[in-house]
């Protein structure tokens, strides 16, 4: 199992590393990384905003095979604080060496699962006091969850084959809701029309936005029209 630094591929997508940089800047983390395992080859594919010297050292030492923030967090469904690895010898092996490169052992990994058993891991770290870290995590967990899914889609589905295979499949209700909004109705209106709560409308829109790979509802409508899933309003 090899570790491949996607940053190093000359004609690879630049959007992922800029997404990670943007994430650090907007949410207040020092470094971020995203890793997934290729379902075809079993290689670990990764992006990281860590300094190059650390990344090179990490791969040379084969840390991707023992780092529990990669190997064990993938088994969870919820974000994993690295403090859970306090008593883990392998964690200390990796992060005692990380310190020499200015990287703190204070971090969080968000595992994301795709529909076909594929996995992705978004990790973030910040060197700050523990109370400040707790506050930061509490305030950003939701945004990190969304970012993890977007990165996963971006990395796994950026190939031509994946794009053709991964035509989004929206439920009848999701399409109905998007169609009403395309026709100019507000979320509250749509809830009234369909006799469901405003919250339920929001849950469906969230799912639609993520399935269509968009950040906003307006973008989702545009893309749904493009896929001929709904008619223009």
């Amino acid at each position: 199992m090899r570790a491949i630094d996607l940053n190093a591929i000359p004609d690879g997508e630049v959007s992922c590393v800029s997404m990670l940089d943007g994430l650090c800047a907007s949410l207040g983390f020092d470094y971020a990384s995203y890793a997934t395992i290729s379902p075809v080859t079993g290689d670990i594919l990764g992006y990281a905003t860590y300094p190059d010297e650390w990344k090179a050292h990490y791969v040379r030492r084969g840390f991707h095979r023992i780092d529990p923030t990669l190997t064990e967090t993938a088994l969870c469904i919820a974000p994993v604080e690295w403090s859970r690895f306090d008593k883990n010898a392998r964690f200390h092996t990796v992060f005692s060496e990380a310190r020499e490169f200015g990287i703190t052992p204070q971090g969080l990994t968000i595992p994301v699962r795709g529909p076909y058993g594929d996995h992705g891991l978004l990790s973030v770290t910040r060197d700050c006091s523990e109370p400040e870290w707790s506050r930061l995590v509490h305030a950003t967990t939701g945004a990190l969850q969304l970012a993890a899914v977007r990165l996963h889609d971006e990395v796994l589905h950026s190939g031509q084959v994946h794009q053709t295979l991964s035509r989004p499949v929206l439920s009848t209700r999701e399409l109905e809701i998007l169609q009403w909004i395309a026709a100019g109705k507000s979320q509250q209106d749509v809830g009234d029309i369909l006799s469901i709560s405003h919250r339920t409308v929001e849950v469906h829109l969230r799912s639609s936005r993520e399935k269509l790979g968009t950040l906003t509802t307006a973008q989702a409508i545009g893309r749904a029209i493009g896929f001929r899933l709904i008619h223009p309003g």
Binding site: I77, A78, P79, R84, P115, G117, L146, V149, S171, E174
Partner: protein
């Protein structure tokens, strides 16, 4: 008390998980056998292999009296991969901020069933909320649905079919919803406990392992005698090797092959 068991700590909690599976079998074993042609509620199913997070309730006597499991909806889950009849073949909702709760089991005939079910649900919602999740689509059998979702002024919507068997209730993790569920059965304070406290509570009513049996002591005495009686360095090395090799049986620790 409520405990969360996930991939990272389950090695400490296997007996508790086994008890939960037995509870599940008791709750669902006979009820749904005929509904879909296969026993969807067998004690374990393929989704247990996906490392879900389990939310368990331990009663005053340390028994597992309620539980459910949580999975991400972006990955394989029951609504997408096993219970398509609930959605009538329609696509499932998938979101990083939506989880699925399934195999929600409680001893429904117990007098405090509603309270236990509410505790398990609140535990699940609080755990999800902390993970940045906003809603949990909760699969409920009709009896559990009746006792949990009579929410008065805070209604719950359903996804897919209702009125025939398992339903999918869309329950939000908002503070308002959680407070409402807590207030209805008078739940105050932190429901969660530490791993150690849960294990102690669970173990208190289990039979204690017996004191070191005579055979272990005899084996230890034999090995030590062999070491003491060894005439040559080679004999001594062999005797010590034997002692180390038998350490699992004598001390109950994994075999060490050297003294380093």
């Amino acid at each position: 008390m409520i405990i969360v068991i996930d991939a990272l700590n389950r090695h400490q909690f296997q007996p508790m998980l086994d008890e939960m599976h037995r509870l599940r079998q008791r709750c669902f074993g006979t009820v749904f056998q005929g509904q879909t042609g296969t026993n969807r509620h067998a004690a374990t199913d393929e989704f247990d292999q996906l490392n879900p997070a389990y939310i368990l309730h331990l009663d005053m006597a340390g028994r597992v009296s309620g539980g459910l499991r949580l999975l991400q909806t972006t990955g394989p889950h029951m609504l997408s991969d096993a219970l398509s009849e609930v959605l009538q073949g329609d696509a499932p909702l998938r979101s990083a901020r939506l989880w699925e709760a399934s195999q929600f089991c409680v001893d429904i005939d117990a007098p405090n069933a509603r309270r236990v079910a509410s505790k398990v649900l609140v535990g699940a919602l609080e755990y999800a909320r902390k993970a940045g999740v906003l809603d949990v689509v909760t699969l409920l059998d009709p009896r559990l649905d009746r006792i949990l979702t009579d929410t008065g002024d805070l209604p719950i919507d359903y996804l897919g079919l209702t009125g025939r068997g398992i339903v999918a209730a869309l329950i939000d993790c908002s503070a308002e919803r959680i407070d409402n569920l807590r207030d209805r059965v008078g739940l105050a304070g932190d429901l969660f406990t530490t791993n150690e406290a849960a294990l102690r509570h669970f173990d208190q009513h289990r039979p204690k392992p017996s004191a070191l049996p005579d055979s272990r002591a005899a084996l230890r005495a034999y090995c030590e005698e062999q070491i003491a009686d060894a005439q040559t360095p080679l004999d001594r090395a062999a005797a010590e090797a034997l002692r180390l090799e038998l350490s699992y049986m004598i001390d109950g620790v994994p075999v060490r092959r050297c003294k380093a």
